[in-house]
């Protein structure tokens, strides 16, 4: 699974050097280039009028400056998001323009690794059966260019504005989106299309993100991680939406869903509004936090996969987390035994698992892993490293496949 940062969150476009440097210093190696950042909100609404700006030369200059900076910092850019229209757009005449922009994005997607390009479906002025008809034509045209350039086009879930109230729009229904992608890929005879799940759009429409991710399955190639309050558009850092009632975005459901699909795509961190809330003097301190959140998601989503990749595992810790592991994963990934530093537990059994001294780990075959099953991750990892253990993993029970009290 890859982790990247959305370029929209870098804020200062005229001087991207510092932001990119901070991002790289925090450990991000990849960026999603969101081309909407070059446009002011609502630019497309003015297209064709005198006030439409910026002009192509100016755009080109900004873009090239950006690319130079990324190249200087060796930032990878395998994921691009095409500019898109507002959800409440009044312009129903811009489909040809959107097609042209999409084709240009594909043409300029660069060389090297296979690129993914998020291109939102068309929705302005469309209803009923014509939505798919028009989009099919649109994506087939884009698909031709994508095949030539070895680009994978990702569709994205949209909102629809009912006089300002954002509700589920085009591709918000996972079964419909899946059917579109399958039909398009079938038409091209290979995987040219996939999906990017925008968690912000899901939250605005009160959607169960886990079920959506699970229904999309292998088609899901990227997840745009952003928090909003479920009413207003925002791109805040996940986990910052806590209030006195709890977390307003159901990250548990998303993590569960992505585990179920064994998601192996790209996690995109979109935290521009969180970052923008801070003084520029404080922003550089936020990048490591954003990176840590991204890594936390990756760790949680991959937990089962990580445990499952070893031929055998041993649990370190014979307390509640161990019991918990045995309840939810003991059958699928049975450990050989458990270890604990508490000598009083040696020789006892926890959930049928023998508890032994950590000393026995010295004889553990090198391809096996020790899974830390207590909250003292750092201390235990240090102890295991000192003992020469190579494969050290961590288990966590914050996001279990199901709640506690249903036995």
């Amino acid at each position: 699974m890859q982790v990247c940062y959305s370029s929209r969150g870098l804020l200062d476009l005229s001087r991207p050097e510092k932001s990119l440097e901070n991002m790289v210093r925090a450990g991000f190696e990849e960026i999603m280039l969101d081309l909407s950042m070059f446009y002011a909100k609502g630019h497309f609404e003015l297209y064709g009028e005198n006030s439409f700006a910026p002009d192509r030369t100016e755009l080109k200059e900004r873009y090239e400056k950006w690319m130079r900076c990324c190249s200087k910092d060796a930032v990878r850019m395998n994921l691009i998001r095409a500019p898109h229209m507002k959800w409440d757009t009044k312009r129903v005449d811009l489909h040809p323009l959107m097609l042209r922009i999409g084709q240009e994005c594909i043409a300029h997607s660069g060389k090297g690794d296979k690129k993914q390009l998020i291109i939102q479906p068309l929705y302005a002025g469309l209803s009923g059966a014509e939505i798919w008809k028009e989009n099919r034509r649109y994506y087939e045209e884009l698909g031709k260019a994508a095949v030539e350039k070895n680009v994978c086009i990702l569709l994205e879930n949209q909102c629809n504005s009912i006089n300002g109230h954002l509700v589920r729009g085009v591709c918000a229904d996972a079964s419909t989106a899946s059917a579109w992608i399958d039909e398009l890929n079938e038409a091209f005879g290979k995987e040219v299309f996939g999906f990017c799940l925008d968690t912000g759009a899901c939250s605005l429409c009160g959607q169960n993100m886990g079920e959506m991710a699970a229904a999309l399955g292998h088609r899901l190639k990227a997840v745009l991680l952003r928090e909003c309050d479920g009413v207003h558009e925002a791109s805040r850092l996940p986990f910052t939406g806590k209030n006195e009632c709890g977390m307003s975005t159901d990250w548990q459901s998303l993590i569960r869903g992505l585990r179920r699909t064994t998601f192996d795509g790209t996690l995109i961190m979109a935290a521009g509004d969180t970052l923008g809330g801070f003084s520029h003097l404080l922003r550089q301190k936020m990048y490591p936090v954003i990176k840590a959140v991204a890594e936390y998601f990756r760790w949680q989503i991959e937990m089962e996969k990580t445990i499952g990749k070893y031929p055998a595992i041993v649990l370190f810790g014979a307390g509640n987390m161990c019991r918990n592991y045995m309840q939810f994963y003991g059958k699928e990934y049975p450990p050989l035994f458990a270890c604990d530093n508490d000598a009083g537990l040696w020789g006892t059994r926890v959930c049928g698992l023998e508890v032994r001294s950590p000393e026995v780990l010295r004889k553990l075959p090198s391809e096996y892993a020790v899974v830390i099953c207590n909250t003292f991750y750092t201390e235990t990892a240090e102890q295991l490293q000192t003992m020469g253990i190579k494969n050290i993993e961590t288990y966590n029970d914050e996001y279990l496949p199901e709640g506690f009290f249903y036995q």
Partner: protein, 314 residues
């Protein structure tokens, strides 16, 4: 014209039901959505504080509701649908209470429904997806309950209607059970085929749908003939307010922020021919009591307007 109904809650007084049904009839309603859920408040159920109403025998309950039945008849109002108390299962609750909810409350609700000659009873699915991990496993629990009451419903000639619900995540209302129209349609068909009867149908709740941003038209069209009853009400997309349609707007243009056009178009497209029932009891406590009859009259007029628009779309 469509038949138009409204909730009995906040209108019908148990001591003088004649008066309430007469008010409804004068306002222009010919159908009522009997609020059986008002006799066992959901907040109390969640707190495991169950009152003794359903301790009564079926015969006692029938006696209790006999005045309501005759009052409705005398006013020319048919009880077209009713709401079973909810929840019918408390997650993590006492086994004894959950057994009581199934064996006493649900069973007796069906008997009351039959006694009032009401063809549809609306039930809430279980809100367990968060605990059980998946919607599918949540449905298994709801399905077990439906199988428990379906034979009795079949025998009594009642159709149980599942409703699209919301759930709360940190105070943010998000989709709950029954929000996937395709799954609902498939499940209803499977159920009815197994029982060889129309034991299961759907109740589309416009307010809940608005809270979780459902596409009204697509949802209704997907359900098609399985849609048996409606809960028509409006909100701001944030809270479950049960207000009059067209009440809310979000933009400076001040146009309705709920997709009423999609709703009416959807009903027209499936040739819906059942009751247009408003679940707007809270409106009656929001307005001054002296305006109650006027407000009810306005809701009924709105039903007439809806009626005409649905025919236009048919």
């Amino acid at each position: 014209m469509f038949r138009i109904g409204v909730q009995t809650q906040n209108v019908i007084n148990d001591r003088y039901p004649e008066e309430g049904f007469a008010v409804l009839a004068r306002a222009g309603f010919s159908y009522a959505d009997f609020s059986l859920n008002a006799y066992l408040d959901n907040g109390s159920i969640y707190q495991s504080n169950i009152n003794s109403f359903f301790d009564q025998t079926v015969s006692d309950l029938e006696n209790f509701f006999t005045p309501h039945k005759s009052a409705a008849k005398n006013a020319g109002i048919r009880i077209g649908q009713m709401h079973m108390p909810y929840p019918i299962f408390i997650p993590g609750g006492d086994q004894e209470i959950n057994d009581y909810l199934w064996h006493e409350v649900a069973v007796k609700s069906l008997r009351i429904c039959a006694f009032l000659e009401c063809p549809y009873i609306v039930v809430h699915g279980f809100k367990l997806a968060g605990y059980l991990g998946t919607e599918e496993r949540e449905w298994e629990r709801t399905e077990a309950f439906l199988h428990f009451i379906a034979p009795q419903a079949k025998e009594l000639g009642i159709t149980i209607c599942m409703e699209n619900l919301y759930d709360s995540v940190g105070g943010h209302l998000v989709e709950g059970s029954g929000c996937d129209a395709r799954k609902a349609a498939e499940r209803i068909d499977r159920f009815n085929e197994a029982y060889r009867a129309q034991v299961l149908g759907f109740c589309f709740d416009t307010g809940h749908a608005n809270l979780v941003g459902l596409d009204f038209e697509d949802f209704i069209v997907t359900l098609g003939h399985r849609l048996k009853v409606l809960h028509i009400h409006d909100n701001d997309g944030i809270g479950d307010l049960h207000q009059i349609p067209y009440t809310f707007s979000r933009a400076r243009e001040n146009k309705a922020s709920t997709d009423w056009e999609g709703f009416l178009r959807g009903l027209g497209r499936i040739h819906y021919d059942k009751v247009l029932s408003f679940e707007t009891a809270p409106v009656l406590t929001a307005f001054p009591e002296r305006m109650r009859a006027d407000v009810l009259g306005f809701i009924a007029r709105l039903g007439e307007y809806f009626s005409g628009r649905i025919y236009d779309f048919s």
